[in-house]
Chain length 200, copies 2
């Protein structure tokens, strides 16, 4: 029962951002680690045939309101960004490269990317923006740029996305706890109970 929790997310997913601000402390309460796994949510939408949430009539409007209210409910700073949706491939590739070097730095980078987009409204689809975020964490820009252009790193993002879809991911955040899938930031209370009781 001491397997790490898998946290699948896309940097462009607002509910993923909300979960990212709470999942580590939740897991830590039960002495559990979390594996952060950025994926390409567009590929999952293709697998399930689902449209982008915010583009659905009625549901899209509701969701914009629900995300803002959920952020206040969870006490997480949040501001809907000027550009949405956007591509998150540069950030995801950078994450996996960093993760191979230094797990803790990769986690810091992921938080910084999420917050740059969901609090400061920066365009994280642009490589110079991501490099700037990385630079503030002391990450070398040339090494970053070279790494994310390698076939290994490109393939890694694809592999992780495929693995998540194979585990049933159709939206994000998608969180696996001891084989049990939980979808959405609003399932954190169920995850809490699951960890506390060993399943219910």
């Amino acid at each position: 029962m001491s397997e790490p929790i898998s946290f699948y997310f896309d940097f462009s997913s607002p509910y993923s951002y909300l979960a990212s601000e709470r999942i580590d402390e939740l897991a830590a309460k039960y002495g559990r680690k979390v594996k952060w796994r950025p994926v390409m949510l567009g590929a999952a939408f293709k697998a399930s045939g689902l449209p982008l949430l915010l583009s659905v009539p009625l549901k899209g409007e509701y969701s914009k309101r629900d995300i803002e209210r959920s952020a206040r409910f969870m006490d997480v700073p949040y501001k809907f960004p000027p550009k949405f949706p956007l591509a998150t491939l540069v950030a995801a590739r950078g994450y996996y490269w960093l993760h191979g070097q230094d797990c803790g730095k990769a986690r810091e980078f992921a938080h910084a990317v999420f917050r740059a987009y969901w609090v400061d409204g920066r365009d994280i689809s642009e490589a110079p923006v991501v490099l700037d975020i990385a630079a503030k964490l002391g990450i070398d820009g040339d090494a970053f740029t070279a790494a994310i252009a390698t076939p290994e790193i490109k393939e890694r993002v694809k592999q992780e996305t495929d693995a998540a879809i194979a585990k049933g991911m159709f939206g994000a955040p998608y969180i696996m706890v001891d084989g049990e899938p939980f979808w959405g930031a609003d399932r954190l209370p169920q995850i809490d109970k699951w960890l506390a009781t060993g399943g219910f």
Copy 2:
């Protein structure tokens, strides 16, 4: 701030059933009443272009699991029924007729219909089944049958459904609290905080 809460639901919606078992006690904590409003969810799906949840690849499988887990999490008896989805027009019409006679009886009837379907697996699309449920509550079958065939009652279901869609309903349960919409049984904790704080 003492307006009743509007609870829009379809008897065939599993998350509506879960919410139905908790919403009255939640509202009562804050001295609030709840207006129960059965609607035709199919019409809302048409308005939003959304497919039936359980028919979506990946998401459908997850949802079946999530509903069962959410029922356990909320401590509500639940069993996925043998026939799903099904038509709920007879039950909805019966509800509005009863509501015109006796609010309390209508609420009892609604609970009984939900439980007949979501606990006992009965086919509530069939008029004889609904009449049997009504009979156990002392409701006259002939009066019920005559009432649900009247144009007024048929129109009422349509009107309530249109009103809910006009308020943004795209799925169920859809709960309006002082003009604020909440979708899903999993938003009851947010409703609790909303009622406690007067909005957040």
